[in-house]
Amino acid sequence: MQVRDVMTGNVISVKADESIVRAASHAAERHQRIAGRR
């Protein structure tokens, strides 16, 4: 099997220059948005 057969796509990422609290908060929001859209 190859990586493409098992990987999870549509990954949420954060920006390097964000504060850790804001990054975690943004990631949670995007997670929610993706869950709502899909």
């Binding site: 493409r4 098992v6 949420i12």
Partner: protein
């Protein structure tokens, strides 16, 4: 991260290129909770001020780039799972970002993804049928078209589709099974979706898996 059960996040720069990973492990040694690394003075002298300063930034930093783990290893979607496992063991990491040829991140492969594949393969000892990848693609495409669909991972083996992931509403379970059943080439669908009840955080396995273990399987309530 705690609320959404996210244990690790890829970090990208302004161009969207991967520059590091931010994981729960990066928050273990933190000044705020008094867990920053402490050493004997003679050892700090041996390590030198540069190393100590680097650890200070990691333990006290407020920005993602100050806390994240650099030197991120990656794989391509063409790599074998053996390559991934070797990397995970050698680097003692739990997840590896998947990078396209142009350097953009297209996904992530975690230990959970490997376990999903292992469980599916263990149930049948035949090799992957040639059409399974196409069936999997069709199922994932069908999920992508549904506005209600949760993030579901699909493993297909000999036309049998296994659904893995988390749902927040029990009614999504049957709908997910129907999506998979309607994909051409699917002979049978196994439901391994875990329902997380939003109010209590209790996690319930699928009826199929519940026969093998008592419910609920766990709580996902985070301990601050």
């Amino acid at each position: 991260m705690l609320q959404k059960d996210i244990s690790g996040l890829p970090v990208v720069d302004e161009d969207g290129d991967l520059v590091g990973m931010l994981t729960e492990g990066d928050f273990l040694r933190r000044r705020e909770v008094g867990t920053e690394r402490r050493r004997a003075e003679w050892l700090e002298f041996l390590l030198g001020p540069g190393r100590i300063a680097e650890e200070y930034v990691h333990a006290s930093g407020r920005k993602v780039e100050e806390v994240m783990t650099r030197d991120t290893v990656t794989v391509s979607e063409d790599d074998t799972l053996e390559t991934v496992v070797e990397l995970m063991e050698r680097r003692r990491i739990k997840r590896v970002p998947v990078i396209r040829r142009d350097g953009k991140m297209i996904g992530i492969v975690s230990r959970a993804n490997l376990l999903h594949a292992l469980v599916s393969l263990a149930r049948k000892d035949q090799t992957l049928a040639g059409d399974d990848a196409a069936i999997r693609r069709r199922i994932l495409d069908a999920f992508a078209k549904q506005p209600w669909a949760p993030q579901v991972n699909v493993v297909v083996k000999d036309g049998v589709a296994e659904l893995w992931g988390t749902i927040m509403d029990e009614r999504e379970r049957q709908a997910c099974v129907v999506v998979a059943e309607n994909a051409a080439g699917v002979r049978r669908v196994h439901d391994h979706l875990v329902w997380v009840e939003p109010m209590s955080g209790m996690a319930f396995p699928s009826p199929e898996d519940a026969k093998k273990r008592p419910t609920p399987i766990s709580t996902v309530t985070a301990i601050a």
